[in-house]
């Protein structure tokens, strides 16, 4: 799990100059060959196959075989059929991300700057939930949010929920689940960059009569940008493609695009449509990431 904390830092660091330059010209290629070949064959090539599957004749079927007809209309057709689920994926992940930032920033800040000797213990507490199976934890939320559980009872008593109000099988449950599942991925890189923040900079800001809010906006926030960017991406990308939370904590009216793609490939066996939706999802995420990184202005993060 420590690797997640390293992702943003090591990726941003320029590699030190290599030493054994020219001593054995073939060695680096020999070291790289097996791994790079694996990635080419089982990561890059499948993407090409997915792209071509998305252009198959939609009239074909898995049993009778598909004909390659360059059916570009698969894309608008798929989008038209599943626009609600598609946009819902981005809406839910965006809300979850905002909630995640509201929770994750104070947590990362507290661990990095205020925890003192409790630092390592608190870090373990952040990572520890990930040791238990993702699905088992998500199912635990079913118990926590259940209609006769303590939480719903409490919320009904204080009239935050009506007498028949519920949490499970609502958008609230799905967004809560998404926030919960991906929060550690946001906190760890944020922690990594906040940990390097020199507290003397904040003292200096305060000496120069900056209010705490101003010191945060002018010192803490800009210095934590690399971690913030890496963390939001590590949160947002998997959250948008997730369908476990919508399936386990929601109902079909909370379904996200992942649920549709899962059923297109594994239930309806409509490969052209599933492939087109997968590609649309990736294209949309790439576009958002690209715009976001341009606006955030730190190309070096990647």
């Amino acid at each position: 799990m420590s690797a997640l904390a390293h992702v943003p830092t090591s990726a941003g660091k320029p590699a030190p100059p290599p030493v054994r330059r020219g001593r054995n010209r073939l060695l680096p290629y020999l070291l790289l060959l097996p791994g790079a070949a694996w990635l080419l064959v089982f990561f890059a090539l499948p993407l090409v196959q997915l792209a071509s599957a998305s252009l198959y004749d939609p009239a074909g079927s898995l049993s009778t075989g598909y004909a390659m007809t360059w059916a570009f209309s698969n894309y608008p057709d798929a989008l038209q059929a599943y626009w609600p689920q598609f946009s819902r994926s981005f809406l839910y992940s965006a809300i979850a991300l905002v909630l995640g930032l509201l929770m994750g920033y104070p947590l990362a800040y507290a661990i990095a700057q205020k925890a003192g000797r409790w630092k390592n213990l608190l870090l373990v507490a952040v990572v520890a939930p990930m040791f238990t199976s993702f699905l088992v934890r998500t199912l635990a939320w079913k118990t926590i949010l259940s209609d006769n559980g303590a939480l719903v009872g409490l919320l009904r008593d204080v009239h935050l929920l009506g007498p028949d109000g519920r949490l499970l099988a609502t958008p609230v449950a799905v967004v809560l689940g998404l926030t919960y599942n991906f929060l550690p991925f946001l906190v760890l890189p944020l922690y990594a960059s906040l940990e390097r923040l020199d507290p003397r900079l904040l003292e200096a800001a305060s000496d120069l009569y900056a209010s705490p809010v101003r010191a945060f906006a002018k010192v803490t926030l800009p210095l934590s940008m690399p971690g913030l960017i890496a963390g939001t991406l590590l949160f947002f990308i998997p959250a948008t493609g997730d369908y476990i939370n919508a399936e386990l904590l929601g109902t079909p009216s909370e379904y996200m695009i992942g649920n549709v793609i899962d059923s297109a490939f594994l239930v309806r066996l409509d490969y052209p449509q599933g492939a087109a939706l997968s590609f649309l999802l990736m294209a949309a995420i790439l576009a958002i990431v690209f715009v976001y990184l341009r606006r955030a202005g730190t190309e070096e993060v990647l």
């Binding site: 420590s2 926590i144 929060l183 493609g241 492939a275 997968s278 990431v289």
Partner: protein, 276 residues
Amino acid sequence: MKARRWLADRWVMGVALLVLGYLTLPIMVVAGLSFNRPSSRLSYDFNEFTLDNWKQPCATSDMCDAVVRSMQIGLIATVASTILGTLMAFALVRHSFRGRSGLNGLIFLPMATPELVMGTSLLALFVAAGVPQGFWTIVIAHVMFCMSFVVVTVKARLSGMDRRLEEAAMDLYASEWQTFRRITLPLVLPGIVAAALLAFSLSFDDFIITNFNAGTTVTFPMYVWGASQRGIPPQVNVIGTAMFVIALLLVGATSLRGRRARRAALAVVATPAGKP
């Protein structure tokens, strides 16, 4: 001013503890439910305390088969991705060659691609190539997505290493191979071990990519997914709790070992003429 700062400190700490509670709550529920005798198959509420689930974790035998299968897949995927990823990390940190930045991109991409896209694209490839889905297609997929994490973890350790230790060994007439075995490898090993642990936990817990490439093979996450529609046996929570405890013990052990190694190193430095 001082009172305000005190308040600000407490405020951040208070929020942080609440968030930690939010993160820990499901674990406590899983642990609690592992001692539950459910009132019905589809009930998720706590009904009655019992130790039966812990006494007979394999009462539902197909669950234990799935756990064993997940461990087999995890071990094979861990060994393969750790070896391939470590070799790549060495090449990327220690050598300059044409196409290095392109390769860095290729390694980064699987971490930035939604699992859903990786899963469906591999499925499309296997179907087009006529490869039957099962145990080995899961292994192939897991090696693929674990490798990037291994490369990143080992690279971080390698590039943080003091190169002068190796130079010193070479100056003392160690051959390149001796330097690698006696100096480089021991120094990188903690990074490799961390990468392997990460790879295993990623593989063991993966659902989305596995779901598209498993055929009829059932891993533990796939078992839980299937059972969530038919009713979850409480033994699932036993496995969840056990995984949590084992992982915590492993983390504790590695940090203890680290501390002992540091103490040993200090002892060597402090003892003037002695050998360790």
